[in-house]
């Protein structure tokens, strides 16, 4: 079974991913592209949020520390993708 980080690191990864997602969506609003809810745009937003959050986790040594405890990088990438994915689905369901 895949090892996952404890709550301290999970909170950090999810929180960072949420901040990046908000940042990406706010930037899009600021650039005038509005609340584009096309599935291709949503997918791109998820990938950008996941990529930036993963990069930041690597920069802050989390991947090294958790790797030493047997947590694979793939698990951290998936964890960083979940919050923006959920938010994009919710936006798609309740958005204009």
């Amino acid at each position: 079974m895949m090892r996952l980080p404890g709550w301290t690191f999970t909170r950090l990864i999810i929180g960072r991913s949420l901040i990046v997602w908000f940042g990406v969506r706010l930037s899009m609003l600021g650039l005038g592209s509005g609340l584009d809810l096309d599935y291709r745009v949503s997918l791109l937003v998820v990938l950008v949020a996941m990529g930036l959050a993963t990069f930041e986790g690597r920069r802050l040594n989390e991947h090294l520390f958790l790797g030493n405890l047997g947590v694979p990088i793939s698990a951290l990438i998936v964890m960083a993708a979940i919050p923006p994915l959920i938010l994009e689905v919710v936006l798609g369901l309740v958005g204009p």
């Binding site: 980080p5 040594n61 090294l64 520390f65 790797g67 030493n68």
Partner: protein
Amino acid sequence: MKPILAAESIFKSFGRKQVLSSAGLWVVPGSVTVLVGRNGSGKSTLMRIAAGWLKPDSGTVIYNGRHLVRPSLASLSRLGLFFLPDRDLLSPSIRVGEHLGEVRRHNPEAEIEEAASLLEVDGLLEQKSKTLSSGERRRTELAVALARRPDCFVADEPFREIVPKDVALLARVLRRMADDGCAVVVSGQEARVLFEVADDVIWNTAGTTHHLGTPEEAMGHEQFHREYFGR
């Protein structure tokens, strides 16, 4: 005794720069292997490859008799390896105690209190790692490794940028880990300090490695002595 960790015939280049060619590294349980070499000789690259943190262009990593073509740090860690990189291991915004708590979460038998006490970090548990001095950070990182109780410990330049008192403490702990049965590999440039704890010496020069034997044999190696100490 057979090596628990061996990196064999390692080749690695970054762009057009060949960093390692036919380099190797190995360590047996209960001993300290020291990898010495000048800046830019490829020590860190070889250590990262041996620990699964970097992929080689070619070559094999063998752990406990298992040939691993493209091992990851996480997979080696699950087999009992711990890697201390030459840069920071701790996450800046997380407290020392939380790092140690995470180790216990993954290893219920982890000896947190003993490791923290031995490395003199038991008074730092509430501090975030970004507030630690370089010596405190290195001691905390070694406490994390010690608490994890690895079968093989790969430490890249653990003595860099720390005061002699901390160097002495870290050297004692590394020796103790080996005496308890752990296979320890340490790299660095401080040959005289490293040789005090070493059982076996490997010289990394011009992208490849040479096995020099015991520290006494290494000191008697004419070419090593001339090129490394300059006399």
